[in-house]
């Protein structure tokens, strides 16, 4: 079985949980023998044919343009490090740093699906020789949504347009059985590939615009999300919470929804002894993007209340984000002295250090489709206080689950944990044992089941299953 997988983030190109989740899924699928052609928003037009589990880390590369391949080989001839080669491909730690306007020149043609212009696309016409695409009811409207919504001068929209342009190239990668697309950024490309190749499409919801914006959000993105999910043959949600949101807010047919919970890759770590710690007092951690979705302002409000009762506690806000300055000024305005600290961006190793110095982990997300970070914290034996509006609460019992807006209850809980360190340690220990069982293998098996539904039932896929 071979999958064409499209995603926006993959290590080392990571800005949030999407990249970590995709890595976990890809590696576990490779372990199950599923082969994956991975496409990322790279600067050069390439894909990554992953065949063995270790390929998830090595990222072997294949080019769409022969000339670029030759140039790349020349340029990387003397390079010994993987990181250097990935940099040439345009994989950086932070995506969205470049746009190839060259690739965008045909964008107008591509998005005019249903018109003469669209039929003139080479990839499309080549495929038409082989099979008639079974139409999806209402698909004209779905593609019209893409045409009308994937517009804008923002970097991210230009990048998505560029990525979508590569759909015609991706369509030509011949051997895959179905398309698996993660989050709205890759939906337009996935839709065109499905249109061109008639191969089944699975879209995977890691977060919706409602989650990210903490409110209504960008209407263009809603429309792209709606169209992608409507056009897809299956929709995978990372939690019941997200499935519920997709069904009520986007009116997606529940018959094609599947729920596959995320997992984590953290190894269980014994906590450091008190002497080696960063802080002697109780340490409470926020770890994630400092953005409205994650509820950093609730963390600050809780800190303010807890510090009134326990002035020796330290609150650490780890990460960066658009609300960083606002939170910093507010923490100063609250006069939290040197009790509320900001780490700035942390690399993987530094995250591990900060986790091994933390007593209580807080995730006050306003809307969290899943939330892998609390599982990682729990793997360190840290007691977690998580908002009820988080999908991760569906898979764990040994954590405190509180509404994100209930600052009183959160503060009381944290005070209680500070005052009862032995209870805190015991819950942390139980949580550690619990999350040890939550592994990607299970998620990958469930995803493979979704694939199998298709490879066996979808008319266009008949006879192409290799297993």
């Amino acid at each position: 079985m071979r999958i064409l997988m499209l995603t926006w983030e993959f290590p080392p190109m990571i800005s949030g949980g999407l990249g970590m989740a995709c890595y976990g899924i890809v590696k576990a699928l490779l372990n199950l023998g599923v082969e994956i052609d991975l496409v990322l928003p790279t600067k050069l037009a390439v894909y990554f044919p992953l065949r063995k589990p270790e390929d998830a880390d090595l990222l072997p590369v294949e080019f769409f343009h022969k000339q670029e391949r030759a140039e790349y080989r020349e340029e990387t001839k003397t390079m010994t490090k993987l990181e250097e080669r990935l940099k040439v491909l345009g994989i950086t730690e932070r995506p969205e740093t470049y746009i190839n306007f060259r690739d965008l020149k045909d964008y107008e043609t591509l998005i005019h699906y249903g018109t003469e212009k669209f039929s003139s696309i080479t990839a499309y016409s080549e495929y038409k020789l082989y099979r008639e695409t079974p139409p999806v009811s209402g698909e004209d409207l779905m593609f019209k949504n893409i045409r009308d919504s994937l517009i804008g001068e923002e970097d991210i929209f230009r990048k998505v347009q560029e990525f979508t342009m590569r759909a015609t190239m991706m369509a030509k990668i011949n051997d895959y059985d179905l398309i698996h697309s993660h989050d709205w950024l890759t939906y337009p490309a996935a839709m065109f590939i499905r249109k061109i190749t008639a191969k089944p499409l699975i879209v995977h919801i890691h977060a919706t615009e409602f989650d990210r914006s903490g409110g209504a959000g960008d209407e263009r993105i809603h429309k792209i999300e709606f169209s992608g999910m409507s056009y897809a043959d299956r929709v995978i949600a990372v939690s019941k919470y997200t499935a519920q949101m997709v069904m009520t807010r986007y009116r997606i047919d529940s018959g094609k929804m599947r729920i596959v919970h995320n997992a984590h890759t953290t190894n269980i770590i014994a906590k450091k002894s008190q002497e080696q710690r960063l802080f002697q007092g109780p340490t409470i951690l926020f770890l994630g993007r400092i953005t409205i979705q994650k509820g950093p302002d609730y963390f600050l409000d809780v800190a303010r209340r807890v510090l009134e009762k326990h002035p020796k506690a330290r609150f650490i806000m780890a990460g960066t984000g658009d609300m960083f300055r606002k939170l910093l000024h507010k923490s100063a305005q609250y006069r939290l002295k040197n009790r509320f600290l900001f780490t700035g961006f942390l690399n993987r190793e530094e995250v591990e250090t900060i986790l091994s110095n933390t007593d209580i982990y807080m995730l006050p997300s306003v809307s969290e489709p899943f939330g892998i970070a609390p599982l990682e914290a729990m793997a360190y034996g840290i007691v977690a206080v998580i908002s009820r509006q988080s999908g991760v609460t569906e898979v764990i019992d040994n954590a405190f689950k509180i509404d994100f807006w209930d600052v009183d209850k959160m503060s009381e809980t944290i005070c209680y944990l500070i005052e009862n360190p032995e209870v805190s340690r015991e819950i942390g220990y139980q949580g550690m044992l619990e999350v040890e069982q939550i592994r990607w293998d299970k998620a990958a098996q469930e995803i493979r089941e979704v694939y199998r539904e298709f490879t066996e039932e979808h008319p266009a896929a008949k006879g192409r299953v290799k297993e």
Partner: protein, 399 residues
């Protein structure tokens, strides 16, 4: 008679390194030694050494007639000892001429006068002892950090036996009065000399500004302006033209290429050509003032910084206030627990520059702040500072 009173401020802070949360309890080195050394050596080469050399020559050339005053913070003298001992030696050479007066200030160039009276007086005494040790003078003239001054400060300073305080000639206090007279503080105990900011800033800030209509500034032009000032004063009163500025003006803020050193070289000779013009030390204002000094009240703190000439450059926004309150609270706690091993480090963190880097004022003044800051943003400066205070506190409660 109009007396030029030159006072130059010599100050370099111990700048903080990019001290991160993960450094806490792992690293007690808060200060960026390589950076501090680089800056001190650079400014020594561009300013301190050539300017000292020039002024020494001028003092010798105009025997007994050309006088100047310096205030050098304690943290700066420490850094001279460590990074540029030749600079300290050349200041001593200047001191030996007898034509140079050294003023008193806080050892750490701090804002302690606004936050902690005991700490303030201790820092003033530390600095006075240091000046006596290094230059053989016991200061009788006081200038507070950044010329910050208010009524209650004068009481403290008078108690300490100082005779004169220097501060800014703030318009909202002076109103119709001229800063050319010597004044008294509100309780008439101590004399005040007020900076003539127009003419001071013509040299310190505008000298090389090509869009300034008066550019280039020549000594003739400057003395012409000064002469115009005295036209209305015919009663043989002794006036003081207080030209107060950062010493780094010479060669560092105004580069050598601007002609700033030539300007300084010519000035004393040109001034002394006029019989009604001369030079004086700040401490001479008692003996020289031949009139009843009017008393001035400064109910709120003033300073020489920015358009506002108040303390908003250091302690206006929330970051600055949270930071400054936390350090003084910590110093109180350190003293209470008798942790003399931590006191010196804590005091380095009282230097006003740390708070200046956190300033978020925009427009003109914001630019000046940015120019002097070693950090990307006020927020970064705040983060490193607060992290250092967190570590200091961890050490305080450690034993």
């Amino acid at each position: 008679m109009l007396n030029f009173v030159f006072y130059f401020q010599v100050h370099q802070p111990y700048r903080l390194k990019h001290y991160r949360v993960l450094d806490i309890n792992n690293n007690t080195e808060y200060f960026d030694e390589p950076l501090n050394e680089t800056i001190v050596r650079k400014v020594a080469a561009k300013c301190y050494l050539p300017a000292n050399n020039l002024l020494l020559k001028l003092i010798k050339a105009h025997r007994g007639k050309f006088k100047i005053a310096y205030s050098i913070s304690g943290v700066t003298i420490e850094q001279f000892r460590k990074y540029a001992p030749e600079v300290l030696a050349s200041f001593k050479e200047l001191a030996a001429t007898g034509m140079v007066e050294f003023l008193g200030e806080t050892y750490y160039h701090s804002l302690a006068s606004l936050y902690d009276t005991d700490e303030f007086l201790e820092q003033v005494q530390m600095h006075r002892d240091l000046i006596r040790k290094e230059f053989g003078q016991y200061p009788t003239v006081f200038r507070n950090t950044e010329l910050i001054y208010q009524d209650k400060l004068s009481d403290l300073i008078y108690e300490e036996g100082f005779k004169v305080i220097l501060t800014e000639g703030v318009d909202r206090i002076l109103k119709w009065r001229t800063p050319l007279y010597a004044y008294k503080n509100y309780s008439k105990d101590i004399s005040l000399l007020l900076k003539y900011y127009m003419l001071s800033d013509d040299i310190a800030f505008r000298f090389s500004n090509r869009s300034w209509p008066e550019h280039p500034l020549t000594v003739e032009k400057f003395i012409h302006w000064v002469n115009q000032l005295t036209l209305s004063e015919k009663n043989n009163k002794n006036l003081f033209l207080n030209l107060f500025m950062d010493y780094e003006t010479f060669g560092e803020h105004q580069w050598e290429e601007t002609g700033i050193f030539d300007f300084v070289a010519q000035l004393p000779g040109e001034v002394l050509k006029h019989s009604h013009l001369g030079f004086a030390h700040p401490s001479q204002c008692h003996e020289l003032s031949n009139y009843q000094q009017e008393s001035l009240s400064f109910p709120e703190p003033v300073s020489w910084a920015d358009q506002e000439r108040d303390v908003s450059a250091w302690v206006e926004n929330d970051m600055q206030q949270n930071a400054v309150n936390t350090i003084y609270e910590l110093i109180g706690e350190i003293k209470k627990r008798g942790r003399s091993d931590l006191l010196e480090t804590a005091r380095y963190l009282t230097t006003s520059d740390h708070f200046y880097y956190m300033c978020t004022k925009y427009f003109q003044d914001g630019d000046v702040h940015k120019y002097f800051s070693p950090y990307d943003s006020p927020e970064q400066a705040y983060i490193y500072y607060i992290n250092a205070l967190a570590d200091l506190e961890e050490r305080l409660y450690d034993k």
